[in-house]
Point group: D2
Chain length 288, copies 4
């Protein structure tokens, strides 16, 4: 079996209008870019077009600069938001945590073994507990305590770290703090949060206890982009676990953690593989 | 492979106290009832004990009357609610529907092929649409139209039919009417409803449209007992279907119907097999 | 919410070579066909390209004939196998059954309610048992008994019916006969079989009994195209059900039937929506 | 919510005969042991009875010795194999690995965070690669290389370690060596293996490549007890992952690893919670 050559990834979205596909695929053919896989979708409600292409350049003199130079003008005609991602480009990821380590442990394992094509450059926490885990993986760990009074200062420090490490994606891996509206806005579209419940049910505090009170037969988790409406950001992925009457709230929490880490991993993987597009309050996820 | 002899089913619940198991199992041994399967559970929060036993009488002169006579006194000591169900006893079931037929069709198929050990004795609807389906299965169909003004009279007619057909269980198989409080109370604990959403999310009208607006990646269904808080009755079973961005609200409805019918079937099957116990606002479901 | 206009569906496959996408999408743009959705995939092992497009013609004078006339030449250059499917084209489907009715019942329900965009034109069986079910749906039912000695004659009769009813797809919905090699060849690529096990495990007789002997914790089903290697044809879809120690072989059969009918429905749906492509001994299934 | 007091666990199995339940439950009542949960099952094919009880001693002078002294005679009458497990007894577990670390990493995470109530006392490998991971968790790591010629000596060393560390359970967490028949016999019933496929399909080498060749739509994993028929030991748990045409063999391997680690964790958890009973070539698993 031949080993797969990692492809370049092209993504774009723009208003729905005839010719959007053609402007992309015609350029690919002309530029000698062999298309390995296409997903496109037209949302008839939002009137928006989305496309993701994996391709293998055939011309020896292919370059990102040349692509940009040649395609920019064509894209402009369609008001296209587009991006080009080099094979094996590793997004620089900052992870924020509190004390729970199940999501962090999983992300670091995936990172360490190459299952997530990312570069975890920094871990930021309002608690000191998970520093050892960060250290073993050789990742800088910043302990930035927070109180109601110091939230804005702490968030300013967080922002500085995010910038200092050229962060492309922030992952809130059970960071148990409500972000300020300005922080939410700052992270809009480039931060993924894991919510420990199947939204939109059980918002608010202690969702697993709420779930137990109701006698649910399933618990779930939701990974979504952060926006200015914290737990209501566009959903990327969801997962569920079956439970029963013999599971008390503490058992639901344990069961929930398993599905939280899987759901968050799926969302981060889809994001870094450029499979996720914002579409108003919803997302388009290709081949997720 | 030996064919399985259908067992008698004994179920009981009572306040948690030492000796509850012993009073049951000792009697079974003394009476010569061979125990095939036991599930018991003690809810430490509600302080209530639940047990379900499948057994095969070994004494030729076993009788329901003798069991009742002999066990009643022992049970009283523990304030035990208990019941005995004969092998292959078929509960008399009334099904209520409106126009959607996916749940009805599935229940009738299961009934016709013996997968549900029930006797569907009557179908009641506020619409005439599903009469043919009922007829083909040889089941009486009553069309009782309803308006805001006639709700109470119609419900009175429904009650009469329920009584006339010695109904043990009412299944609301997408009966698209909000029951009056008195009707809810009348049906308390002996009617199962299917809610077209994963409660507690998306209560109220058009839940699939709400789900689409939120861009959920899963839709679900909830089967629960009717009580005086219609969509909040104790949950028996839940199910989910994975969906994606390419599913519009009408697709979610179609996907949802598949999971509704499976979820309702599971709940009815558990109920008639005496696997479900009310436990306050929750349920205990053994081996469901 | 706007109601979705049913799209035309274009599918094609050909050897992998640069320009395959462009020849399709350029023509679509030139012909004024608005592309709603694309899936394409290049199998690096088989060196074959596959594409499926949903599109909405924008020109009033769009016609199937014009499309054919204009695209045939372009396709020839790439040795492209392609097809065009009109919105809501209903494939003519022949269903073959024996005595089990769970798959037939489900397919007919989906057909009757429009969930499967097919036209079930004939039902053929080697037993008389399911005639009533066919009749209620108003579908001709042919009882063609079969013995070891009469297999070839019976198959000849079956072929005649298949031709007489202009059959596009044959569905073996638990038709419990091994087809002759010539019949397999005749049906190659246009017949879907449901195998009552998760292939490749438990081939041969009484797979559920084999599964029980092994104490499996899951049973499955496989829907695949018929080819000259009956139970080894290219897989379209698979499904599983969780089971446990309390399930005897007869329970596994019942559990298995539930997953058989869902799996077969999924396969037929994908096929008639033109989502499935043969790819040697495997399949490509887009958005299934 | 009250915190749950960890219960004592009693398990037993014996030939099916009337009185088996009573002898247990009567003793529990007499001894003042409050029963929290019972599962019992009678296998009508093997003619064997299985029971698992969680109980909370109410007598201050409860002791394991007293239980043994008092119950042994009663059990003997029924040829009962039985065991008593103290609350939070931690089984001493030896883990054997080769180079793949996904299962080891998961087990160690569960061990470290208390999700698995075990004591991982030693890790044994035929490769040096995973020593760092062992060290970070503070667990002794023995590198015992193996060749065809040294298999028996190496296995003798492994046995010594198993004995030296008072091992109660051996977990083969992707230990990529075929054990000798004598080693299999030595480990019979007290070693759990994870097989990287949904048995009984795809036995033998490179199962994921076999699966890819067949174009399967699901890959699975099987955790089972080791017996003298290596990949055919009694199955404890199985899991599956959905895959599609875009997954090459290397993708199936990655997908498979996710389900391997979950499946192995489930099996180990059920084993240490005393939920699993050998039943000939099959198992009984209560509440798994």
């Amino acid at each position: 079996m031949k080993s797969k050559t990692a492809p370049w990834i092209f993504t774009a979205s723009c208003p729905s209008i005839i010719g959007t596909v053609d402007v992309v695929t015609r350029y690919m053919a002309q530029a000698g870019n062999y298309i390995d896989e296409i997903h496109s979708f037209d949302d008839r409600e939002s009137g928006r077009f989305f496309i993701r292409i994996e391709f293998l350049p055939q011309n020896a003199n292919f370059s990102e600069e040349a692509f940009n130079a040649e395609f920019t003008e064509r894209a402009a005609e369609f008001s296209m938001d587009w991006s080009l991602t080099a094979p094996n480009h590793k997004q620089k990821v900052a992870i924020m945590v509190s004390k729970y380590d199940h999501c962090l442990n999983d992300l670091l394992y995936r990172f360490r073994t190459g299952q997530l094509n990312i570069d975890v450059t920094v871990i930021i926490s309002n608690h000191p507990d998970l520093e050892d885990l960060a250290k073993w993986h050789g990742i800088p760990y910043y302990h930035l305590p927070i109180t109601a009074d110091t939230k804005l200062e702490q968030e300013a420090q967080v922002r500085e770290l995010i910038e200092q490490y050229d962060t492309e994606l922030v992952v809130l891996a059970r960071y148990m703090q409500v972000l300020s509206p300005s922080m939410c806005e700052y992270l809009d579209g480039r931060a993924i949060n894991i919510h420990h419940s199947l939204l939109p049910g059980f918002k608010g505090a202690r969702p697993y206890h709420q779930a137990w009170e109701k006698g649910v037969k399933m618990v779930g988790a939701t990974a979504h982009y952060v926006n200015n409406d914290l737990d209501e950001g566009p959903i990327i992925s969801q997962g569920i676990q079956v439970v029963n009457h013999a599971h008390y709230a503490e058992d639901l929490i344990a069961k929930g953690q398993d599905i939280e880490r899987v759901t968050l991993f799926n969302a981060v993987k889809c994001h870094v593989e450029k499979r996720v597009f914002l579409n108003g309050k919803r997302t388009v996820v290709f081949g997720g």
